[in-house]
Symmetry: C2
Subunit: 306 residues, 2 copies
Amino acid sequence: MQNFELTILGCSSATPTSKRNPTAQLLNIAERFFLIDCGEATQIQLRKYKLKFQRINHIFISHLHGDHYLGLMGLISSMHLLGRTVELHLYCPAELQEIIEIQFKHSQSYIKFPIVYHPHKYIDNDLIFEDERVEVRTIVLNHRIPCCGFIFKEKPLLANISKETIHLFQLTVEEIIAIKAGSDLTKRSGEVIKNAELVTNIKEPRSYAYCSDTCYDERIAALVKGFNLLYHEATFLQEMEARAKETFHTTALQAGMIAKKANVKQLMIGHYSARYKDLQPLLNEAKSVFDNTILAIEGQSIVVSY
Amino acid sequence: MQNFELTILGCSSATPTSKRNPTAQLLNIAERFFLIDCGEATQIQLRKYKLKFQRINHIFISHLHGDHYLGLMGLISSMHLLGRTVELHLYCPAELQEIIEIQFKHSQSYIKFPIVYHPHKYIDNDLIFEDERVEVRTIVLNHRIPCCGFIFKEKPLLANISKETIHLFQLTVEEIIAIKAGSDLTKRSGEVIKNAELVTNIKEPRSYAYCSDTCYDERIAALVKGFNLLYHEATFLQEMEARAKETFHTTALQAGMIAKKANVKQLMIGHYSARYKDLQPLLNEAKSVFDNTILAIEGQSIVVSY
C-alpha cells in the first residue's frame, strides 16, 4: 500500500499560543511531500518532528493571512542556505510573489534554486498539480479575503493479477499489461473473460480535502462528497456563531454538519481560537453531529485508510 | 536600583535548529521594554517565557537578513488582534516599511495602532531614542548588507542624601533638590560644602552594546569602551576564520579580542552557527582572550550590574 499520511505542524488560528503554532500540515502521498500552508515557525516545527524539509517540492498556500504563510520566507531561506538546487513550486495567491521578491531584494539574497509560482485562479476543481500517482485541485473557500482549499486524490492504482490467474490463462506480457489497465481477456477460443474476474485488490483511490479558512458554506459539502478525510476549520464553539460569521470562520458544530452532508469517512477539525485551552468541547460539539471526528494535534500523524 | 535586565529569546544564526531560535532579545531598562531584533517565532518565544509583548513600545531591527526580522509581521499582527492601540516605534532599515506595508495591503489588514518608523541613518552614536531614564544610539556594523548595532545607556541617576545629612545641615527642600542635581551647599556662614560630601551612591550609568551581525572590526572596540555588557556575535570558531571573513561574521576568539580592546566589564557571545551543537568550545575560545565571557542562552536573563 502506498503512503498517504498527514502530519499536523500547527493547528492554531491567527494568534498562536505557547502550546499551539499557526497552521501548517505535511502530506505524504507515495513519497511526494506536500506542505499545506506555512504559518510562522513551520521550519522549526519540521525540525522538531524530524521531517526533512528539502524533500518538500510543492507548497500550497491557501490565502494571505499571516498565520497561513509567514513561515515561508524563513523556510525558503533555510532551504537556500542548506544548499538546495531543486526547484520549488508554490501554489498560492498571485500577490505572494511580490511579497517574497521584495524581501529577497532588500536582503540582497540570490536564491540558488528556481521558485515556480502557480497563482490561484479561484476556480473549483482547478487541476493545479498532477503526476502518475497524485492530483491536486483547488476549491474556492468563503473567507474575508480570497482563499482556496486543496483536494488531494490518489490516481487509481493498477490492479494486481495473481500468479494462479497468469498460470491458468497462460497470459502473455502484453495481455498482463492490458488487463492491469482494465481490459477484458479474449481467449483464442473467442471466449471473453471479464476484467473483474482476472484482477484482485481494485481499491478506490483515497482523497483528502483541506478546508481552511472559511465560513460555514454548504457548497463545500458538495465538493468533497465521500472523501476519505476532510480537514475543516472549527475556530469557535457554536455559542460564538455570530463571531464566526462576522470573521468568516466556522464553528465545530458547523464543521460536523459539513462532514455529515458530504458523507466523508472521517473529519479532522483544527484552526482553534487561542481562547480554547481545552479542545475537548470543540471535539464533543463536532462529534454530536458527525461521530468519526478527530482533533488536529501538533506532531500527530494520521494515515488515510481505504 | 532600577531594572537593567536582558533576556535572550533567540541566539541562533541564519538557520535555526530544533534547540535554538533566530536572534531576538528583550531589554528592560527601568520598565522600558526594548525588543532588539525579531527573528522568526519571537512572539512564540515571548509567550513561552511569559513576557508580555504589549509592553514593548520600541523595536530595534539591526538589518534585513531574515533571521533578524522575520518574526516582526507575526508579532505586529498579534499585537493588533489582541487589541493594541498604543503606538509602536520601529528603528530599522528604511526598506522594512515597504516590506511591512505590502503584506498588510495583500492581507487587507488595517492595523489599529500607529507604527512610527525611524529609519537608520547609519551614523555612529546617532541618538535614536531618549527619555528621562534611557538613551539609545546606533553604531555602524560591518556586514554584507547595511547593518546597525545599538547602544543603550542609562541616564545618570539623581544622587541620594542620607537622613543624617539632611538633619545635620538642616537642609530645605530647595537645597535638597539642588544638591541631588549636583550643586554644592553654601551655608549661611558662607562656608561651602562640596556636593560629593553631601550625597551617597553616585553610580556610573550602566551601558549595553548589541553588536550583531558584523565581521571583526576594531572600530567597534573604540565605540563600546568600558561598557558594562557587550553582546558580540561569535558565529564561528577561529578554525573557520576564512568562512567568517567571507560571510562578514566574527569568530569567538575575535569577539573576545574586541571585548579586551574595549575593556568592557562583561562579554556575551551569541549568533551561533547551526553546526555547533555544543557551545562550550565557543565559550572557551572567547574566554581564552577575555575571561568574563558568558553564552547567550535562550530563556536566560542577565542583570547588568554597576
